[in-house]
């Protein structure tokens, strides 16, 4: 491995490469072909007419507009939060930091269900207000409005901004501010002339990431926005699954792919310049205790806001799942075990749990094996800045820049006919999930693999270890924790994956997110309650995965993703 035989390196990489070609580049190519050759012949005029149709412009404008609005609102609310984490030491900071990771690991469908449970028409708050003030109609009506999914976007991305900007802020050398003070700068001048300019790359990087996430938002908009609103992702889904207008869906996917690549490229450049880690290590060394009343009020307000924003929807979800029309009940959980006439499934809904776990285990195994091979391939190139290395790294990361919906759409137009007919195969779901999780696994393993000093392997070789023994007894034990982190990530991503699953899941083998989506789309209290119950189960499963990871990693509860 050390003398990295080129043939052996490529042999290692062949498996991930074949996987990417078959399940990533082939479907994507098909989308492009379908856009330009709608009836099998070159017809760009058709694409032109689609792009010039009023729907197309309206959807694109709405997608950008809502992403920009979400980004602005999130930044406004989260920057004070980043400041208190970077600057102050306060009681319960570690707990709060752990709480901050929760939205990040929560599947979109669960988030949507949680906000429905809290603020929806028959949500907890409306129920209480109606009961308390004897109202005949729910007083909060944000179901199926823009405000509802913007709120969910803030919930998701608040954490991201606090972590990226807060981590960067805490890592700023405090001597810089002291140096400016010694040169005569007042605290205000220090902020505007030193701190803010230094923070700008981190803020820009965080803003861009939030924009990307909101631009590709699917589950939240689909569930909370209702039929009146559509982002590009939602429209791709509707055009292909509801209207079977595949050329239109392909044309929409095309613009989605182009914009996503552009944004991710921008983000990669920006974060390389500012060296902002996706999940920055939080430094507490420079934090100071609270001294004045003003500081206490400021920090207290922010903490209260965090708890309200992050915790209440999740508690409401749990509460709503055990609250029926006549008070506390386990009806909804029990209903998951039975096939009823009113049910939307031909099998017991609880089977979705087994499906999800099975798919997730398969996807995890595949993603970890492929990720390990790809990471070993990349790490064996000693010069990590060489052109070849950079290009292969970028190619492996490409799936990260592609929305799951586009991918799902690509799968249904390619993998349903020879040469690769997987239409009725159970494998298609884990394959899609493994592709989504694969870049994350590489990002988990690669840094630890690169951190192993070559002298360690050389020492083992001189002590008589064969290349295989070196790999088995030096590399693997050192990176075992990183592999574990990657595995938990892959499992959780698969459990919560909705965008691709919405396309490729077969009706009789639904995954949990798909089941929740179907329940939420059906009328009736029992369906609603079952959605809440299943969301609660899914939330507990994903959170416990990360909780376990936190325990394994000791005090540091944040997984070292994309460092």
């Amino acid at each position: 491995m050390q003398r990295s035989n080129p043939l052996f390196r490529w042999l290692l990489f062949s498996l991930p490469l074949i996987f990417l070609i078959l399940f990533y580049f082939y479907p994507l190519l098909k989308i492009v072909l379908l856009s330009f050759l709608p009836e099998g012949s070159w017809n760009p005029a058709r694409l032109g007419s689609l792009i010039h149709s009023p729907i197309y412009g309206r959807i694109l404008w709405f997608t950008c507009w809502q992403a920009a609005a979400s980004t602005l609102i999130t930044l406004t609310l989260a920057l004070p939060g980043a400041y208190i984490f970077a600057r102050y030491r306060f009681f319960g900071k570690n707990l709060l930091q752990a709480l901050l990771t929760v939205p990040f690991v929560l599947p979109t469908v669960v988030t949507a269900a949680a906000f429905r449970a809290l603020l929806g028409t028959n949500g907890l708050l409306n129920n209480w207000l109606m009961a308390g003030f004897d109202l005949s109609r729910p007083p909060i009506n944000i179901d199926q409005t823009v405000a509802f999914f913007l709120l969910a976007h803030v919930f998701y991305n608040y954490t991201l901004v606090v972590r990226i900007v807060g981590g960067f802020w805490a890592g700023l050398n405090p001597d810089l501010g002291a140096a400016a003070a010694m040169l005569g700068a007042s605290p205000r001048q220090i902020f505007y002339r030193i701190t803010l300019p230094l923070l700008l790359p981190a803020i820009g990087s965080a803003a861009l990431l939030v924009f990307i996430f909101c631009f590709t938002s699917f589950g939240v908009v689909l569930i909370l926005g209702g039929p009146g609103y559509a982002t590009l992702e939602v429209e791709i889904y509707r055009q292909s699954v509801q209207f079977f207008n595949l050329p239109m869906a392909a044309a929409l996917s095309l613009i989605q792919i182009a914009v996503n690549f552009l944004l991710m490229w921008l983000h990669a450049r920006l974060s390389r310049k500012s060296q902002v880690a996706f999940y920055a290590e939080s430094a507490t060394g420079t934090a100071i205790p609270l001294e004045t009343t003003g500081q206490r009020v400021f920090v207290g307000t922010n903490i209260l806001f965090m708890v309200l924003l992050l915790l209440t929807p999740l508690l409401a979800l749990l509460a709503r799942s055990v609250t029926g029309e006549d008070g506390l009940t386990l009806t909804y959980y029990l209903a998951l075990f039975s096939t009823q006439a009113r049910s939307v499934f031909s099998v017991e809904p609880i089977a979705a749990v087994a499906n999800s776990v099975g798919f997730a285990l398969a996807a995890m195994s595949l993603a970890v094996i492929l990720g390990l091979l790809a990471a070993t391939f990349l790490a064996s190139d000693r010069d990590k800045t060489s052109t070849g290395s950079t290009i292969w790294d970028a190619i492996i990361m490409l799936p990260l820049a592609t929305s799951a919906v586009t991918l799902g759409f690509g799968y249904i137009i390619t993998l349903n006919r020879p040469p690769l007919n997987l239409r009725d195969s159970l494998a298609i779901v884990p394959l899609a999930h493994a592709l989504v999780a694969f870049p994350f696994v590489v990002r988990c393993i690669l840094p630890s693999l690169r951190r192993i000093p070559p002298s360690l392997r050389e020492a083992a070789a001189l002590l008589g270890a064969s290349p295989y023994q070196v790999w088995r007894r030096v590399d693997i034990p050192i990176i075992s924790r990183a592999i574990l982190v990657g595995a938990v990530f892959a499992f959780s991503i698969s459990m919560g994956e909705f965008g691709a699953s919405a396309f490729v899941t077969r009706p009789h083998t639904p995954t949990m997110p798909v089941a929740i989506f179907r329940f939420l789309g059906q009328p009736g209290d029992l369906n609603y309650g079952q959605a809440m119950a299943m969301s609660s189960i899914l939330m507990l499963v994903t959170c416990s995965g990360f909780w376990l990871l936190g325990r394994l990693e000791g005090r540091n509860t944040s997984p070292g993703l994309l460092k």
């Binding site: 050398n173 001597d175 810089l176 002291a178 140096a179 400016a180 003070a181 010694m182 040169l183 005569g184 700068a185 007042s186 605290p187 001048q189 002339r193 030193i194 300019p197 230094l198």
Partner: protein, 354 residues
């Protein structure tokens, strides 16, 4: 007249961290244009003392007077003190020129004057032509010079330097130490310099303050400090090993396993326990000198002999005591295991305070 020259006075200064005392009852004063070195091991409180002078830490007890004015409540940005930080703390988003100009901009210095002042300090530190470089394009030594230029540009009333040479290699350190002293003396800047390196302190300072466990042990000129360490803590920190415990009898004799040695300046006429320091350079081979009258002589066995270039370092066993001395290379001392006779210079014997 003397008092009017005192620029900095530290009176009964104490500081606590998490309830533990970091500095206890520090008192000293500094004249205009003097360079003071705060010397001590890590954790001795020297950086804390510097940051208290800068106003970056809060004073818990005592006073700091600058030009006779109590400056405890003046925020750092209104003190017009300069400070050079350990890792320089150069602003990474600004060029060399912008870093140096920052302090002048804060003083609302007119553009034309600002440009010429930046140019002048750049020339002084020997960095002409580097004005438009980025900070990350500079070597360690260049960064150090930019940091010095930045802190000098606004003409501070007091310059504070926190281990400014700590991260450089030995050769560069030695050269820059000399350069810094020349520049500070040319500008007649009053400065406080923190270091843990004794050689650096001796070559740069007019006064040295030895700090240990937050207590000011001694405040002296480098030469007096070396000749007369105040106590065994200072002596050990300065690298002296020949510390001999014994008693002083009423006839001004120091009684120890070495025998009775005459000592000066004992104001007491009772028997007291004390420690004697014999400085390592204060001995010669007995046969190389015509033995003077009443010369102090030591005889022992050589346990180790290291050739160190300009001197031999000898470790001796004298009546069960381990002593070490630096002897000239000519005439060469006897081999390991051989007996040796040494003559001691009386000025190399220092009686230490408790």
């Amino acid at each position: 007249m003397q008092d009017s020259q005192k620029i900095l006075e530290v009176v009964h200064l104490s500081n606590l961290y998490d309830g533990k005392p970091l500095l206890q009852d520090i008192n000293f004063s500094l004249m205009k244009g003097e360079i003071l070195c705060l010397l001590g091991p890590s954790g001795s409180g020297k950086t804390t003392l510097l940051r208290l002078l800068a106003g970056l830490e809060k004073v818990d007890a005592g006073t700091i007077l600058f030009c006779g004015r109590d400056i405890r409540h003046v925020p750092p940005h209104q003190r017009n003190f300069g400070m050079m930080f350990q890792e320089y703390a150069l602003f990474p988003h600004k060029s060399v020129q912008q870093n140096i100009a920052f302090g002048l901009e804060m003083q609302h210095c007119p553009v034309a004057e600002l440009t010429s002042r930046v140019e002048a300090v750049l020339t002084m530190v020997g960095l002409t032509g580097l004005a438009h470089r980025n900070i990350d394009e500079l070597s360690g030594g260049e960064r150090q010079r930019v940091a010095l230029a930045r802190s000098l540009a606004p003409e501070p009333q007091l310059l504070l330097l926190d281990e400014p040479l700590g991260s450089l290699d030995r050769a560069l350190r030695d050269r820059l130490t000399g350069e810094i002293r020349t520049i500070l003396k040319t500008l007649n800047v009053t400065a406080v310099f923190v270091t843990h390196d004794q050689a650096e302190a001796f070559s740069i300072a007019d006064k040295v303050a030895i700090l240990h466990h937050g207590i000011l042990q001694q405040f002296e000129t480098p030469e007096n400090l070396y000749r007369h360490p105040a106590n065994s803590t200072v002596a050990r920190f300065l690298g002296f090993h020949n510390l001999i415990a014994g008693t002083i009898t009423s006839d001004n004799m120091f009684q120890s396993p070495l025998g009775a040695l005459p000592v000066k300046n004992t104001a007491t006429d009772t028997i007291t326990r004390s420690t004697l320091l014999i400085r390592p350079e204060g001995a010669r081979l007995a046969q190389s000198l015509p033995a003077p009258q009443n010369a102090l002589q030591l005889s022992g066995t050589i346990t180790d002999r290291q050739f160190q270039g300009s001197t031999y370092r000898l470790n001796l066993d004298v009546n069960g005591l381990a002593l070490s001395f630096d002897l000239p290379i000519d005439p060469p001392p006897p081999e390991i295991g051989r007996p040796i006779q040494l003559v001691l210079n009386p000025s190399a014997l220092v009686l230490l305070g408790s």
